[in-house]
């Protein structure tokens, strides 16, 4: 038996590894994505005052901290008894969140995954990187930067800072949007919409043009999970959790968000610091599910903005309106979401409620709260208990990438079986294809991995006794 180790892969600009085991005939017997990083937030926020948590816990991440900021704030809304926020508070938070969705999706599409789509998985790594994109497609590279900038400026206007702001506080928000800020955004919104349409077209055309090749690439049937509005519409900020199976049958829908742990459980495996969430009623073997753009487009009944809804219908038609289980279709779904985000942002900017002054509400104090939100990478759960002295006594976070843990493992397994079995020599395209499969999920780890077209992977081929017989590194 031989074992290939790919290390490090990363989670939050950090480290993880892939191991692939081969039998004596070089057939893949096991492949795993291990997350070897330990974050510890659930432990070290214990004892901290609850109002500090939305600001503290967002430090988990520098890519989509707004998700953690808002998920924690939503949990704290429950703690302070703010069952319904003021229109200004909710819309400011929505603007912050959809701005984040825009910047995060733009970053991933233009700068992390576009080299694979534009140049091919097996293109020369010297050009298959963001520098290559800048040289060969400077217009796209600039659009990516400008889209991201627009999203980041929205975050700054609503949270106070582009990264790690303080806007959302328990029960509301600490500022409104001035007329001047609003007008600054409105003057550029049509251009942002146009670029988002262009990005959607690239992702759609790529998927349709290459469907034969990518339909099976790292693909597998799975359950899908995401929050949707009460009427079934896509909603990134608030809604009820819905899970469907591979055929689109509902497993559950709009159960009590405060009791998520009654229907979602987490399994711990000895080889990874990342837990494996699953749907309780199905069990850990088959109850895992995908989250993120693909899952969200699959679980919603419709999108309530016209252009994104038209795009969703085209997307769903590819799989005859059944859930799309193609891993590489994440990119297309992500761009539908980006266009939807821009449509929502435009609508919000034209809403006078953003200039309101009624910012915070409170009600009956509680000792436990759950906040659920759709982060760019998928459903994010924050769960806290607070004692009578206002201190956190328990925290549990199920982060989007965690939910995609098993799916990413499945994707790695598929690629390994297709590319490695019978071919023990490790080639650069193989390494990139493992990355491509992982990258489709836009896990936090991808951000640190493709900046220069070379994920910091290390492959080690070991013999039965654990001796290294081949090492390949791209660091």
């Amino acid at each position: 038996m031989k074992k290939i180790v790919i290390e490090p892969v990363t989670r939050v600009e950090g480290h993880g590894k892939v191991t692939i085991q081969l039998d004596d005939n070089n057939k893949v017997t096991q492949s795993r994505l291990h997350i070897v990083e330990f974050r510890g937030f659930e432990r070290f926020i214990l004892g901290r005052p609850y109002w500090e948590v939305p600001v503290l816990v967002q430090r988990l991440c520098g890519i989509c901290p707004v998700s953690h900021h808002l998920a924690a704030a939503k949990a704290m809304d429950v703690i302070v008894g703010a069952d319904k926020l003021t229109p200004t508070a909710e819309k400011m938070r929505r603007l912050m969140h959809y701005g984040q969705m825009l910047q995060s999706h733009a970053l991933h599409f233009f700068h992390l995954c576009s080299p694979d789509l534009l140049f091919g998985f097996d293109a020369d790594p010297a050009i298959r990187n963001v520098i290559g994109v800048i040289e060969k497609h400077p217009d796209l590279a600039v659009q990516g930067v400008m889209l991201r900038k627009y999203g980041q400026e929205l975050i700054k206007a609503t949270a106070g800072k582009k990264i790690h702001g303080t806007g959302a506080i328990p029960g509301g928000i600490n500022k409104n949007l001035s007329i001047e800020e609003r007008d600054n955004f409105l003057k550029d919104i049509e251009q942002i919409l146009e670029w988002s349409r262009g990005a959607l077209k690239i992702a759609k055309d790529y998927t349709i043009d290459n469907l034969d090749k990518i339909a099976s690439f790292g693909s597998f049937d799975s359950n899908h999970l995401g929050i949707v509005r009460k009427d079934g519409a896509m909603d990134f900020y608030d809604g009820g959790v819905r899970a469907i199976d591979k055929d689109g049958n509902k497993i559950f829908d709009h159960l009590d968000n405060q009791k998520y742990h009654h229907y979602i459980a987490e399994e711990v495996k000895s080889w990874s610091y990342m837990k494996f969430p699953f749907i309780r009623e199905i069990g850990h073997e088959n109850g895992w599910y995908r989250v993120g753009p693909l899952a969200r487009v699959n679980v919603c009944d419709y999108i309530d903005t016209p252009e994104a809804e038209a795009a969703r219908k085209e997307f769903m038609a590819v799989t005859d309106n059944k859930p799309n289980n193609i891993t590489m279709a994440y990119h297309w779904a992500r761009m539908i979401e980006m266009l939807h985000s821009v449509e929502v942002i435009k609508s919000l900017l034209n809403d006078d409620d953003l200039q309101g002054n009624d910012l915070v509400v409170s009600g009956e104090r509680r000792n436990e709260g759950v906040g659920i939100i759709e982060a760019p990478r998928g459903t994010l759960f924050h769960h806290y208990q607070v004692n009578d002295n206002d201190q956190i006594t328990m925290a549990n976070l199920i982060v989007s990438t965690t939910s995609n843990n098993e799916p990413m493992n499945q994707a790695v397994k598929k690629v390994a079986e297709e590319r490695i079995s019978g071919k023990p020599e490790i080639t650069e395209p193989l390494m990139n294809e493992v990355e491509v499969a992982i990258r489709a999920y836009d896990p936090c780890l991808s951000c640190a991995t493709h900046a220069l077209g070379k994920m910091p992977l290390k492959f080690e081929l070991l013999d039965n006794d654990g001796h290294i017989i081949q090492t390949e590194s791209r660091n």
């Binding site: 005052p49 109002w51 500090e52 949270a159 106070g160 002295n389 206002d390």
Partner: protein
């Protein structure tokens, strides 16, 4: 009585008899950095951030009285470096995480670090184990951030008349204790007390009001600490 004339950084200053160097400098619109001093409280002279050279000798400007003809160095590189080192030491001997502290933007320690150009401390972090007292319904003590300035001790004694706080232990173990068996909730303190208002850092806080002021509107977001004193000079 006649004015006292002396120099700060070669500028002639007129002060009143009995004034400290800091009081005379404030009146003249010259900012001397400070931390433990607070208007209305007796000077303490403990933090030494206000160190100046008086006729070449290091003195605390908050306690040193002015005298005729003295020369005060408030801006030489050596003086600035002493202050910077003190601020750096205060940072490393506590657990100051500005990035999520609710006092950020309103914190005098942070504002001094910005003003003095402290980037990353050159001293090793001590990461002390400090405790939190959240027992009071409206007030929160986070000793991780306490710089032992003694403002709360003096305000409680001299203004609130309650003696809620006192220093205990010595050296690296020195800390602010509360006047009860164990907890703040067992003391007479009230959220409206001056002692709660005067903390320069995020060690003594009112509960449930953190982050209510947005970034951009906090005390030191747009102007450095000390500018209120310097601006006084410009407008006069």
């Amino acid at each position: 009585m006649a004015d006292i004339t002396f120099k700060i950084d070669n500028v002639d200053i007129k002060g009143k008899p009995g004034q400290t160097i800091m009081e005379a400098a404030d009146a003249a619109g010259i900012y001397i950095p400070r931390l433990c001093t607070y208007e209305g409280l007796q000077p303490h002279g403990s933090c030494r951030v206000c160190t100046v050279f008086v006729n070449g000798r290091a003195q605390a400007a908050c306690t040193q009285p002015i005298a005729e003809g003295i020369t005060v160095d408030n801006s030489s590189e050596e003086v600035q470096q002493i202050r910077k080192d003190i601020i750096e030491m205060l940072f490393v001997e506590g657990n100051h995480y500005c990035m999520f502290c609710e006092k950020s933007g309103n914190c005098e320690l942070q504002a001094l670090a910005y003003r003095l150009g402290v980037l990353a401390p050159k001293y090793p972090y001590l990461f002390p184990k400090r405790d939190i007292d959240a027992s009071h319904k409206d007030i929160f003590i986070d000793r991780n951030r306490c710089v032992l300035c003694g403002r709360c001790v003096r305000a409680s004694q001299d203004i609130d008349g309650k003696n809620v706080f006192e220093f205990v232990d010595r050296g690296p173990d020195k800390r602010v204790a509360v006047n009860s068996e164990a907890k703040l909730s067992d003391t007479e303190i009230d959220v409206t007390d001056k002692a709660v208002e005067v903390c320069p850092v995020g060690a003594l806080l009112k509960k449930r009001v953190g982050y209510a002021v947005p970034i951009g509107e906090r005390l030191y977001d747009n102007k450095p600490i000390g500018s209120e004193i310097e601006n006084k000079n410009q407008s006069s």
